[in-house]
Structure formats: structure tokens, C-alpha cells
């Protein structure tokens, strides 16, 4: 029950405010109506019912005589129109449309008694709150007599009209007023989205709307500027790593190369290579958000063969299996980096690695399989985290960014990367890319 109620409630600010205002108006009008009823009712109570009945009887008698003496039907109709009053309504109908007799209410009974006593008029039919008198043999005057009927008419009519009018006016005003508040909010939301798409767009946020909204806009502008500064600083750091760290490394390498060939030299050169790899990995990771490589149509088998060949040249056993030709549109360097990272990982833990390519109707799948120890299911999500290394290994090469870079790239190509067990032993990394709609 509560859940159903929640769902029925309006969601947007506009609808909520409109609902509140309309509710207020409706409650107000109803309260007014009820109060007036009570007041009028009590006022009427103070009036002597007998006197009221007598005056009603007088009215009925006079109208009945006037209609009976009317020269024509048209004149009679006019008289009846004129006789409508706040006291009660009068209708002139054909005799055959007479209302059925019924037990009269107390007030009606009094009216009837006064008619008989004071005016010697006998009503033809008496209903619960109607008194009917023959005007002519074939026409009947029906007088509606009710203490509360007049008030009911008044209230119903007045209340309905005012309710409808007020409803329309309030809705219109509320809509307009609330839009004035919410449009700046929508502008801020749009600016937030635009910032994600094009971080360098510097258009200022318009300073409109209520004070709280303006505060929000200012806070957002400040945050946007701060974020932009952060991105800029990160770019600076990249340049620093790139240039300032690589320069001394270059000198180290050149000097180490000239040292006497011995174990020390080999060890130094190996460490220098490790450092170079780490710098390259870090730069790739930092740079990846701003990737601007234009997509190109490439031959996937050639790319995968190249990766396998490069791994073979390093002494690993990596082979390709799959079609000889398959066109795919994507970012070639990024894809090569992603798949190389996966193959690198595979060669770290396994001896024989196989890279296969499968093409289905709406998907292209690259699977890298190794025969290593595999990755336990519990860690399969964690290995994609940046800087995560299995076994907490500080000894393993690199920063532990390889798989997270790979996943970023695969997802940028609207694909996904999954880790599964390979049977009988090892890990299977499946990269699924959407097949392009080209030849």
C-alpha cells in the first residue's frame, strides 16, 4: 500500500509544487464552503421555521394565482421565470410529468398546512420537498421547497465555478513560477554533461534564478574550474615524467652501455629497462583519458599476428589461430596496446599462449589462453583495478596497470573483457567487440 502511494506521488519539482498549491486551493475552497454551510445553516436555525413556512406558502399562493390568471402560455412561462428566487425553484410542467407523491418533510408539511389555512389552496401532489399546484387543468406548478436547497444551489454553483477557475489560474501560475526555478537547474545539469564531453568549454553559467539556485551555479562553476585545473596539472605531471625522468635515464643507459661487459652491466641495463617500462606504463595510463587516436579500419589478424611475433621475439611461445583476414574499425594503437598487455600477462604466468580470433554475426571475439595457474574467481574483478598485483607482489614487473589500461581501451570500443577458467589449466581472457557494420 505504501509502495503504491509512493509511486503515485509526483516526482518533479514542478509537479510537486503544483500539486501542493492545487491541494491548498481545493482545501481552502472546501473549508470555505463548509464554514458557510455551517454559518448559514445555524443562521437559518435561528429563523422561526413556522414564519418561514408561512412566507413560503404566501409565495406559492401568489405565484399560483398569477399563473392561473396569465393571458397566455408564453406569459405564464415568463412569470414562472420571474418567480425563481433564492427561496426555491419553480417549474411549470405538463400534468402528465407530475412527480410522484411522497411523504413530505417537516418543513414541506408546514408549508402545506399554511397553504390550506391561510390561502385555502389544496396542493395537487405533495412530495418530500415539493408542492405541486394545478395552474391550468393540464399544467402543473412544482415548487421545490427545501431549507437547505438554496444554499446547496448557491454553494454548488459558486463553489464549482470558483474551483474550476482557481484551478486553471493556479496551475498556469504555478507552472510558470516553478519553471523559473527549475530551468536554471536544468541548465546546470546540462553544463555538467557538457563538461564531461568537452572539458575545455569555458562558457560561464547564467546567473539567474532564485538565490539558492544561483549559489548552486556558482559552486558548480568553481568545481568545474578546479577540475579543469586538476586535469591540466595532471598533463603537466605527464610532461614532467616524460621529459624530466627520461633524460637522466638516457644518460644512465648510454653510460651503462659503455661499461665493461659483465654481470653488473647486464643487471644495470635490465633495471634501466624495467624503469623505462614503468614510465611508459604510467604515461599510457595517465594519457588514456585524453586519447585522440582517430579510428581506422585495420586487419585484425595482421594485428594479432604482429603481437604474437613480437612476443615470440622476446622468447615466449605465443601463437595465433583464426581467419586470415578480418576487417575491423577501431583505434589501432590502442587495440594493440590492450591486447599486448593481455598477452604480456599471459606470458608472465604461463608457458604456451594461444591467441584466437572468432567472428560471429554481431560480435568479434579475441581470446587469449595460457596454461598458467589461472586466477581465482575471487580476484577476477580486482585484477582490473589499477596498481593491483596478484600476491601483493612488489617484485613483479610494472605498476600493475596493464589490465586496467586494457579494460579502458576495450570499453572505449564498446566491448567487454572477461576472465574465465581454461581447461585443463590456465586462464582464458575473452575480449568481445561489437562487429562493425562494414564489409
Amino acid at each position: 500500500m505504501r509502495l503504491g502511494l509512493k509511486r503515485a506521488l509526483p516526482r518533479t519539482t514542478t509537479m510537486q509544487v503544483v500539486a501542493v498549491v492545487v491541494l491548498a486551493v481545493v482545501v481552502g475552497v472546501l473549508a470555505t464552503a463548509i464554514t458557510l454551510t455551517a454559518v448559514a445553516g445555524s443562521a437559518r436555525m435561528r429563523m422561526n421555521p413556522d414564519v418561514k413556512a408561512a412566507s413560503e406558502a404566501a409565495r406559492i399562493a401568489i405565484v399560483a394565482h398569477m399563473v392561473a390568471d396569465a393571458p397566455s402560455n408564453a406569459a405564464a412561462a415568463e412569470l414562472v421565470e420571474g418567480a425563481q428566487s433564492t427561496a426555491g425553484s419553480v417549474a411549470l410542467v405538463a400534468s402528465r410529468n407530475a412527480p410522484p407523491p411522497a411523504r413530505p418533510s417537516a418543513f414541506t408539511q408546514r408549508v402545506v398546512e399554511h397553504l390550506r389555512a391561510d390561502w385555502r389552496l389544496q396542493p395537487a401532489i405533495v412530495g418530500s420537498d415539493t408542492v405541486s399546484i394545478f395552474a391550468t387543468p393540464d399544467r402543473l406548478l412544482i415548487f421545490q421547497e427545501s431549507e437547505f436547497q438554496t444554499l446547496r444551489t448557491f454553494l454548488t454553483f459558486q463553489a464549482s465555478v470558483s474551483l474550476v477557475l482557481i484551478f486553471c489560474v493556479v496551475c498556469a501560475l504555478a507552472f510558470y513560477a516553478v519553471r523559473w526555478i527549475t530551468r536554471p537547474l536544468a541548465t546546470i545539469a546540462n553544463a555538467a554533461h557538457a563538461f564531461a564531453r568537452s572539458p575545455d568549454d569555458d562558457s560561464p553559467l547564467k546567473d539567474v534564478g532564485p538565490a539558492e539556485i544561483r549559489q548552486l551555479a556558482t559552486a558548480f562553476s568553481t568545481m568545474r574550474d578546479r577540475t579543469r585545473q586538476l586535469i591540466h596539472d595532471r598533463g603537466q605531471m605527464m610532461a614532467a615524467i616524460s621529459h624530466d625522468m627520461r633524460t637522466p635515464l638516457t644518460r644512465l643507459r648510454l653510460r651503462a652501455d659503455r661499461a665493461a661487459p659483465d654481470d653488473d652491466r647486464a643487471a644495470m641495463l635490465a633495471d634501466i629497462t624495467v624503469m623505462e617500462d614503468m614510465i611508459r606504463e604510467a604515461l599510457t595510463y595517465l594519457r588514456d583519458g585524453r586519447a585522440v587516436e582517430p579510428p581506422q579500419t585495420i586487419d585484425l589478424p595482421a594485428l594479432l599476428r604482429t603481437i604474437c611475433d613480437q612476443a615470440q621475439d622476446l622468447g615466449h611461445c605465443v601463437n595465433y589461430g583464426g581467419p586470415a583476414r578480418l576487417a575491423y574499425c577501431g583505434q589501432p594503437n590502442a587495440l594493440q596496446r590492450a591486447i599486448s598487455n593481455v598477452v604480456d600477462n599471459a606470458t608472465k604466468y604461463g608457458d604456451a599462449v594461444v591467441v584466437t580470433l572468432e567472428s560471429e554475426r554481431d560480435a568479434t571475439r579475441i581470446v587469449v589462453v595460457d596454461d598458467g595457474p589461472g586466477i581465482p574467481a575471487a580476484l577476477r574483478e580486482r585484477v582490473f583495478e589499477p596498481f593491483f598485483k596478484i600476491g601483493g607482489a612488489r617484485t613483479a614487473r610494472g605498476f600493475g596497470l596493464g589490465l586496467s589500461i586494457a579494460r579502458d581501451i576495450v570499453e572505449r570500443h564498446h566491448g567487454m573483457i572477461e576472465l574465465q577458467d581454461h581447461h585443463p589449466r590456465g586462464l582464458s581472457v575473452r575480449i568481445t567487440l561489437l562487429a562493425n557494420s562494414n564489409q
Binding site: 616524460s242 638516457t250 643507459r253 659503455r258 579500419t297 585495420i298 595482421a302 622476446l314 576487417a327
Partner: protein
């Protein structure tokens, strides 16, 4: 394609004096004559007085930077230019190659590899016509396109075919010598002398890998034919653009 009689003269433009000294020594030990200058004005002065067979240019320089110098030099002559830089961003590499650099080496580098690459480029440019003002940016054969500037190979449908650096050099060498039989030794000389990777691979391996990627039927090659008595022949007609 012959080895020059005198040691090749390399002009290094590098503002870090220690690195300049180290590179000069490394190249001198491998048969080059290397002079170092620290900025573009010194370079212009030196080129005016002496000459050089190859310019080794650092990207980040005070004053006129490497890209500007490359663009300027390329307009003047055919002399090979190799860029040296700490940045491995694709955009920098592509820009440098588009502006006319013949190769792009990132720091830190293996000096053995540097020497091998310089030698390869000198050999390749040695066979080109020195009066030709603009070296061709791309070569076409049998519908394929080899973009020398960006080091890309595209098939007749425009689809990019990935190649390792060594593979690209092999097919580039074959292109430049289309119709002539190249022995394995000659191909080796034209492609880093096999010094590009950590493991030396024979020319045969590179050719076989290239065949896998470009031949319609790798077992019956039509583009790169094996010639008995050791050699390869690139059969299609090559058009320079």
C-alpha cells in the same frame, strides 16, 4: 646502396651537453663522425661551413624547436633527418614523420639500435636521387599503399595492416628495389642489420611473416618471390607518389 668510403658525418642538435657528449662517443665508437651543437642557430652556422650526411635532431630545444627545424630543413634539401625525443606520444611521432623526418627514436634508446638505424637510413637515402627535392611520401604496388612517412601499409581496400618495425623496413627495402633480386645480406644491411630487436631474427623469418599478412596465398607467394641461390624479388611495379 654501397657503404660510403668515409665514415658518415652526423650532426647532433641536442641542448643537454652530457647526453650530447655520450651520444657522440657512442656513435664515434661505431664508425660515425659525430658533431654536436646545442641549438638551431649553431646548427645553421655549422651546416653553412661544413656539411653533414645526416641530422640527428632533439624535439625539445630552446628557441626554435625540433619540429620547426625539421620543417625548415626538409624544404631545403634531401638530407636525412632523424628525430630524438623523450615523448612517445603518437601525435608527436606522426607530426614529425609527416613534416619530413625519416625516423623517430624515443629516449632512452639502445645506442646499438641507434647506430643501426642511422646506418639503414643512410643506405636507403644513398640510393635515392639527390636532386629530387621531395622524397616520395608513399609508394603503391598492386593496389597496396606503403606510406613511408607514417610507416603504414594499407591493402587495396584501404584496410591498415599492422607490421613490426623490422617488417616495415623489409617491405620498404623491397619496394625501393622492386624488380631487382636482393640477397639476404643486402636485405639485412638495409634493415637495421637485425639489431632492431632483442633477438636477432633472420631475414627469412621477417619475409615469411610479411607473406602471411600480404600474400593472397602465403604458400604460393606472388608478390615476394624466393629466388634460388638465396634472395628475394619484389615482383609488382612500384609507383612513387
Amino acid at each position: 646502396m654501397s657503404i660510403p668510403a668515409e665514415p658518415p658525418r652526423v650532426l647532433l642538435v641536442e641542448d643537454d651537453s652530457e647526453i650530447a657528449a655520450l651520444i657522440s662517443q657512442a656513435l664515434a665508437e661505431r664508425g660515425f663522425v659525430c658533431r654536436a651543437v646545442a641549438c638551431s642557430t649553431e646548427m645553421d652556422e655549422y651546416l653553412g661551413r661544413e656539411g653533414a650526411d645526416l641530422i640527428l635532431l632533439d624535439l625539445m630545444l630552446p628557441g626554435e624547436d625540433g619540429i620547426g627545424i625539421c620543417r625548415r630543413l626538409r624544404g631545403l634539401s634531401n638530407r636525412p633527418i632523424v628525430m630524438l625525443t623523450a615523448s612517445d606520444e603518437d601525435i608527436d611521432r606522426i607530426l614529425a614523420l609527416e613534416l619530413g623526418a625519416d625516423d623517430y627514436i624515443t629516449k632512452p634508446f639502445n645506442p646499438r639500435e641507434l647506430a643501426a638505424r642511422l646506418r639503414t637510413i643512410l643506405r636507403r637515402c644513398g640510393s635515392a636521387d639527390p636532386t629530387e627535392p621531395r622524397r616520395p611520401r608513399s609508394y603503391g604496388f598492386a593496389g597496396w599503399t606503403l606510406d613511408a612517412g607514417r610507416r603504414l601499409l594499407s591493402d587495396p581496400d584501404g584496410i591498415g595492416i599492422a607490421l613490426t618495425s623490422a617488417e616495415f623496413d623489409v617491405i620498404f627495402a623491397l619496394c625501393l628495389n622492386a624488380g631487382r633480386v636482393l640477397s639476404r645480406e643486402q636485405l639485412l644491411e638495409l634493415t637495421y642489420g637485425g639489431a632492431a630487436g632483442p633477438v636477432e631474427r633472420t631475414v627469412d623469418v621477417h619475409v615469411s611473416r610479411i607473406r602471411q599478412k600480404i600474400e593472397p596465398d602465403p604458400r604460393q607467394p606472388t608478390l615476394i618471390k624466393t629466388v634460388r641461390l638465396g634472395g628475394y624479388l619484389f615482383t609488382p611495379t612500384v609507383v612513387a607518389r
